[in-house]
């Protein structure tokens, strides 16, 4: 009842302005949403300082990770970002307990993009689609395709790849990493 009265009292001349204010607010909200950036490569180091040579690698983030920009370095090449990660804490009575942790660090602006990266379609998704080449070769039996299973299995998880690199001190885990990141070394 009170709402109807409020609507009746509303000056019709003010309605377009009210709509305009609402629209501007909505636009601002959408723009803020657009400021979220995504990691565009398979994985990348997040550093403690906005420099390739100083500081250390604090975290490694994976492709598609959504990040919020906090600030920009003076030269504009580095972005201080914040993101949250789910981590298993302990095995409780109800199973594994998960804790969301907010992490921060500096990442090079070139590694981020406004859109999520288009991951090239996995083989499991496109095993034998209706109009694929494989299905067009009509003489092929299911048993003929059996050896291909070795090439169709999910090869590894990101954790396994991470462990593999850490064990071998490769990629982001190499000891000489800062010196080799386009930097200077003797």
């Amino acid at each position: 009842m009170s709402t109807c009265r409020w609507v009746k009292r509303l000056n019709p001349l003010r309605v377009p302005w009210l709509a305009l204010v609402l629209l501007v607010l909505a636009a601002g909200w959408c723009a803020a949403e657009g400021a979220a950036l995504f990691l565009r490569v398979r994985y990348a180091p997040v550093r403690s300082k906005p420099s390739l040579l100083d500081g250390e690698t604090k975290h490694t983030v994976l492709a598609g990770q959504k990040m919020e920009v906090l600030e920009r370095s003076k030269d504009g090449a580095w972005l201080k970002v914040k993101w949250s990660e789910e981590k298993k804490t302990s095995e409780g009575k109800t199973g594994a307990e998960k804790k969301t942790e907010t992490l921060e660090g500096w990442i090079h602006a070139t590694l981020l993009h406004t859109q999520t990266p288009k991951l090239e379609t996995t083989l499991t998704d496109t095993a034998v689609p209706a109009q694929s080449l494989l299905s067009r070769l009509v003489h092929l039996k299911k048993s003929d395709l059996k050896p291909l299973q070795t090439l169709q299995r999910e090869p590894h998880t990101n954790d396994q790849l991470d462990r593999f690199l850490r064990e071998g001190k490769l990629g982001a885990y190499r000891e000489d990493w800062p010196a080799l990141e386009g930097g200077v070394t003797k």
């Binding site: 305009l20 398979r42 070139t110």
Partner: protein, 322 residues
């Protein structure tokens, strides 16, 4: 009069709506442009660093940089060759793989296959197609050459694995194959092969061939690939790229050279051979690798990792056929 005023206000409202919509549409594009502007600026400053800082300090400076590479990577991974979709490329690779498996047989081991996949995936993540999913299969053959098929499929014969003595050498072998995937050399070769045989597919994708012709093309393509391998210039291009991949990942860059030397020794013993037996350009390939290493001022900082290779790979290989 009142009606006129309402009309004017409505008009203003509509204009405001379109302005807001325009702003909304432009916002993400602006930030995308800003990101790439940073990338370009950074690229320029990085190249300055390599010349000026290096000269002043008298230090050896790396000529590549990881960040710039990572930026370029995304741009290139979106490209498609001659209208092939990724699924087409992968299907062509699978069909070629079928030919190889039918001829040589497939070897599988629960520890060996995941290990090979991890080495290849780590290399691919540092290539210019970092989002490409690489899959490695093992052939029951004593050939010494790994085959790189379209869509990130790599086939490694048992013979090639036996020749390696450390993970850096295996990485050298796989880096060559990943580089071929990255440069889409096998796909280009298949296209040329198709164009020579079928005038209808000139400048078009060979996926368009009728099933029978495509099947025949793939059979002959697989045979041609295993007999003749890549052209010498293509192999050298892949060698250059593979040195970059090994350096980026942190493997001993000389691993590729060591692997080539071992292959030469094996060929002299006349064991296996495959397409490498037709290459008279071993020396040229070694020179290409040396030149690239010199260009990168590559120090011997990389990992050789022999223990893990013995544990995860050599220990699981079956005895060679007599």
């Amino acid at each position: 009069m009142k009606r006129v005023r309402t009309h004017i206000l409505c008009g203003t409202g509509i204009m405001a709506v379109s302005c807001a919509a325009l702003l909304l549409g432009c916002k993400p594009r602006e930030s995308a442009n800003t990101v790439s502007t940073y990338a370009k600026d950074f690229g320029a400053s990085a190249s300055r660093l390599t010349t000026q800082a290096g000269e002043k300090l008298g230090l050896v400076v790396k000529k590549w940089d990881y960040v710039r590479f990572a930026w370029e990577a995304q741009e290139k991974s979106a490209e498609l060759t001659h209208g092939y979709s990724y699924a087409d490329e992968r299907d062509l690779g699978l069909l070629l793989a079928l030919e190889f498996f039918a001829r040589d047989g497939c070897f599988e081991h629960e520890r060996l296959n995941p290990y090979l996949n991890l080495v290849a995936a780590a290399l691919a993540a540092h290539s210019e197609r970092p989002l490409l999913e690489v899959h490695v299969g093992v052939l029951r053959s004593e050939s010494l050459h790994a085959y790189s098929l379209p869509g990130g499929l790599i086939l490694v014969p048992l013979g090639a694995l036996r020749v390696c003595e450390s993970e850096s050498e295996l990485a050298g072998l796989l880096a060559q194959a990943v580089a071929q995937c990255e440069l889409r050399l096998t796909l280009a070769r298949l296209e040329r092969f198709a164009a020579e045989r079928h005038a209808a597919v000139k400048d078009k994708s060979c996926v368009l061939l009728p099933p029978e012709q495509l099947q025949a093309l793939l059979e002959d393509g697989a045979l041609d690939l295993s007999r003749n391998g890549l052209k010498a210039a293509e192999a050298r291009a892949a060698d250059r790229r593979s040195v970059d991949l090994l350096m980026r990942l942190g493997y001993e860059p000389g691993g590729l050279r060591a692997h080539l030397a071992r292959v030469q020794l094996k060929l002299r013993e006349k064991v296996g051979g495959g397409p490498l037996a037709n290459y008279a350009e071993f020396k040229a390939r070694e020179e290409t690798i040396d030149t690239r290493l010199a260009e990168l001022h590559a120090p011997s900082l990389g990992r050789t990792i022999a223990d893990r290779y013995r544990r995860e790979c050599l220990a699981h290989l079956p005895a060679p056929k007599q």
